[in-house]
């Protein structure tokens, strides 16, 4: 047992190094004076460039935030109501709806991206922020549904029966009983959707039109031209923000990874 622990420890350390060393290199070189990956001296030059002379990047960032907020809101509303319906009620085609809802979770991103692209082209909808919003809402719904159904499983149904017995209408039961109890799940679902939306590249790539760039799309176009110290600086800001949010939402993990 002792020996096995030692081997697994070596693997664990290796995995951590594998994860963090590349990111560390980015952090160090974001303070490099020169334009290449050759160290020439310490400087904040690229941060200055990022914050003062990267207008397009910040436009893309703004788009990303707008899309993330709107699509998370839409998918949280649709997913939460859907989860309540699917988990508590019996109705026709329930099993079918549930199975179909999980499918987008399993299909490769590129397939969702190009099927939406062909669909939008077919119905004559121009590619814009609207089509990105539709795509993001579509791929976020299954995640919200998944988290909310997990949350509902911990929920005692007799509370709802009590509410009906005491004469509450369906609307009151939903607003005053169900939603307050599953609130942590709703928040977890919303944050999960935000994260996925902000991170998505492949699906967005296919459904975005001219002038509707998001941050990942902008990063992609920068990367294609090779190493850019501005991306190093941006990476550091994003890594710091990620670590900060991760620490902040540590108690959310329960709903996301153990469900």
């Amino acid at each position: 047992m002792k020996e096995k622990k030692k081997i697994s420890f070596v693997f664990f350390i290796f995995t951590l190094l594998f994860f963090y060393l590349p990111l560390l290199v980015l952090v160090i070189y974001s303070f490099n004076e020169g334009k290449t990956m050759k160290w020439t001296g310490f400087s904040f030059h690229w941060y200055e460039e990022l914050f003062t002379r990267s207008k397009e990047l910040w436009n893309a960032f703004e788009n990303s935030i707008i899309i993330a907020l709107l699509s998370s809101l839409a998918s949280t509303v649709i997913g939460t109501l859907g989860a309540i319906g699917i988990y508590w009620y019996r109705f026709r085609h329930k099993k079918l709806i549930q199975t179909v809802s999980y499918l987008p979770l399993m299909l490769p991103d590129i397939i969702i991206g190009i099927s939406l692209l062909i669909f939008f082209a077919g119905i004559g909808l121009n590619l814009s922020l609207t089509t990105i919003f539709i795509a993001h809402t579509t791929f976020n719904i299954p995640y919200v549904l998944f988290i909310l159904i997990a949350r509902l499983q911990e929920f005692d149904y007799s509370v709802i029966e009590a509410s009906y017995d005491l004469g509450a209408k369906e609307k009151d039961t939903l607003l005053k009983i169900i939603l307050p109890i599953i609130k942590p799940g709703i928040i977890a679902g919303f944050l999960m959707a935000m994260t996925l939306s902000l991170d998505d590249f492949v699906i967005t790539f296919f459904v975005s039109g001219p002038g509707s760039s998001t941050l990942p799309l902008h990063i992609f176009s920068m990367i294609r031209f090779g190493v850019s110290p501005v991306i190093n600086a941006l990476a550091v800001i994003l890594i710091a923000a990620t670590a900060f949010l991760a620490l902040l939402s540590k108690n959310m993990q329960k709903y996301i990874y153990q469900s």
């Binding site: 096995k4 622990k5 697994s8 693997f11 664990f12 995995t15 951590l16 594998f18 994860f19 590349p22 990111l23 290199v25 980015l26 070189y29 290449t36 990956m37 050759k38 997913g79 859907g82 309540i84 319906g85 699917i86 009620y89 109705f91 026709r92 709806i97 179909v100 499918l103 987008p104 399993m106 299909l107 490769p108 991103d109 397939i111 099927s115 939406l116 062909i118 669909f119 795509a135 809402t137 579509t138 009906y164 369906e170 991170d199 590249f201 790539f205 296919f206 990063i219 992609f220 990367i223 090779g226 190493v227 991306i231 941006l234 994003l238 990620t242 670590a243 949010l245 993990q253 990874y257």
Partner: protein
Amino acid sequence: MKKNYGTIYSLPLSVWLAFFFIGPTLIIFLYSFLKKSPFGGVERSFSLDAFAFLFNPTVLQIAWMTLYISIAVAVITLFLALPTAYFMAKSRYKDSLLLFIIIPFWVNFLIRIYAWIAILGNNGFINNFLIQTGLVSDNFQFLYNPYAVVLITVYTYLPYAILPLYSTIEKFDFGLLEASKDLGATHFQGLKKIFIPGIKSGIYTAFLFTFIPALGSYAVPQLVGGTSSMMLGNVIAREIIITRNFPLASAISLILSLLTIIGILVFMKKNENEKKAVK
């Protein structure tokens, strides 16, 4: 409980998915049997051209490369993830270790790919280092081959494998291993006959969570793969964006979707049988 509320609650869900998921999926299915129009759209006549083109040697070769890369990714990921998850599950500081694994997972996907370009690229960190120390005189090309695609895909998907393995190992009853030892089994026998079968569902999940997204890879081979490591995702994108051959892109997508769905069904069936066997 009134009977109609279920339909009402799930109405937005059904409508949204019908429009934006089932609709597009059906269109792909339909388009793959249509004829390509010379102007980039489709003509309304039945044709199997797109499927015939799938047997073109170049396409077959790319399909083979896609499979090869995806299997390599899934196997290497599993090899790294299993001991890592084991260590985490047995550690006293589980929660903090879990956070350490999740943080890089939340860093933007493209930034994670970019980090490797900055390190291994022709003007990257390692090449600069090698030239400065005089070990080599010219840039060495680390990227733009299948190995780079495998390495960087493993990097981006590793947490997908660690998380499900971690949660199954955490639930595994290690008393069973000790019991097997008391009954005279060697350490290796215990691992092979008790531990690995006990965490089988985690292993399947981890394999699937890496293999399936790898099959549909687009960004990694596009950015760090060369012409020799093109994958089906790149062909689909090329047919859509450049050649505008919608039927062919649809046909490849259809095949890829079917493979994915069959893979998942086999997995679910296996998992179910496993559960029955335990009972």
